[in-house]
Subunit: 221 residues, 2 copies
């Protein structure tokens, strides 16, 4: 369900990132003054700030401060605040948020995948090395731009539907008890994950959330 990325070409200093419309030169020789900052590093800093404060509460001035650049550089490299946020969301799904798709893809059954996903969500949401909770869940809760809200909400709801499909396929294949209700289990799991993100932001510990994750698995038939 995640990791639909598009190249993004692991450049280090001189850009050529794959933002759809901006900051990208096709393939070969670069002309003109080279970019003087690390685009990936700046993007990661933006990600941390959006993660911590959310889309709307993070100002362009805040962003340029932590990215170590001036506004014209930000706009030249990323387009505008919205496009930068879109790139941040994509980066998040491929990095800090990728554990979820990995767990569901790598475990032999949906039940094992969900158990691992919840366990890792508890660890991830409370990791002291980065902001607490999940960027996809918290960054657009209070946001006046309907487009931004809807874009991220669509990702969340797509994840719920993908999980439901996964469970349904597993039930059909006989890997889960016949009593398992795919839609209900997907909705319940999504509710717990999103609640864990909020609880982590309120200061719940990793141990507490791991207990929540373990308890949640008792709901499976």
């Amino acid at each position: 369900m995640a990791t639909t990325s598009s190249a993004k070409s692991g450049t280090t200093t001189t850009g050529a990132g794959a933002a759809p419309t901006t900051g990208a030169r096709a393939g070969a020789a670069q002309r003109g003054r080279p970019r003087s900052f690390d685009r990936e590093a700046a993007l990661e800093q933006a990600l941390r700030l959006f993660w911590e404060r959310g889309y709307e509460a993070t100002s362009v001035a805040d962003l340029t401060a932590v990215m170590g650049i001036r506004p014209p550089s930000l706009y030249a490299a990323f387009g505008d605040k919205r496009a930068l946020f879109d790139e941040v969301v994509a980066r998040y799904r491929e990095s800090h948020g990728a554990y979820s798709a990995r767990a569901l893809a790598e475990e032999p059954t949906a039940r094992a995948g969900v158990a691992r996903m919840l366990r890792e969500a508890a660890a991830e949401a409370t990791d002291p090395d980065h902001p607490w909770g999940c960027l996809l869940i918290s960054s657009t809760v209070n946001c006046t731009s309907p487009e931004v809200v809807e874009a991220v909400r669509a990702l969340r709801n797509a994840n719920v539907r993908a999980l439901e499909s996964l469970i349904r396929a597993d039930v059909a294949a006989g890997h889960e008890p016949a009593g398992a209700d795919p839609a209900a289990l997907a909705q319940f799991t999504a509710t717990v994950v999103q609640g864990m993100s909020q609880r982590a932001r309120d200061g719940a510990t990793r141990a507490e959330l791991e207990r929540v994750a373990a308890d949640a698995m008792r709901v499976w038939p």
Copy 2:
């Protein structure tokens, strides 16, 4: 755990609300030009808007528009945006958010109280007559004012601790199986409630969340 209100004197047109510092005259005769708007009605409109958009994304201009007043009237009656929000939070806890404390107080056991609270949370969070989700959970997720964030977070965490105490007392009284872990059950319940609020804002239906609420009760020993 809720309903710690202080009089607030159910006045209809001519104010005398109980805002700690502002807009309140002691008890008796009012002097000067009377307020020309319904303070309670204006407060309810502010509550709806804060509920829908959150604290920071709701501007004073938005507020005065839905309240039908001009900025000086808002500041004279409520102090400032922050004080207005505090009153809104208090009003919410005594009205739309009171179902939770009621359920826990009125049911004979903690387990029955939690079951009812979760069931009613599903209905409340998806009620088409007002914004979705829970104001206490969603309105300060992305907020640059640490004081506002902390104030509402403290209310949420106090609710978790109160629930834990309730369950613990019930376990001690022998109303719950000895295997019941009060802290874990409180944390799990809080996680589900907060997740339900988020899911409601993402469009989950009442039926879906009622199923989540029922499923969550399977975690109890």
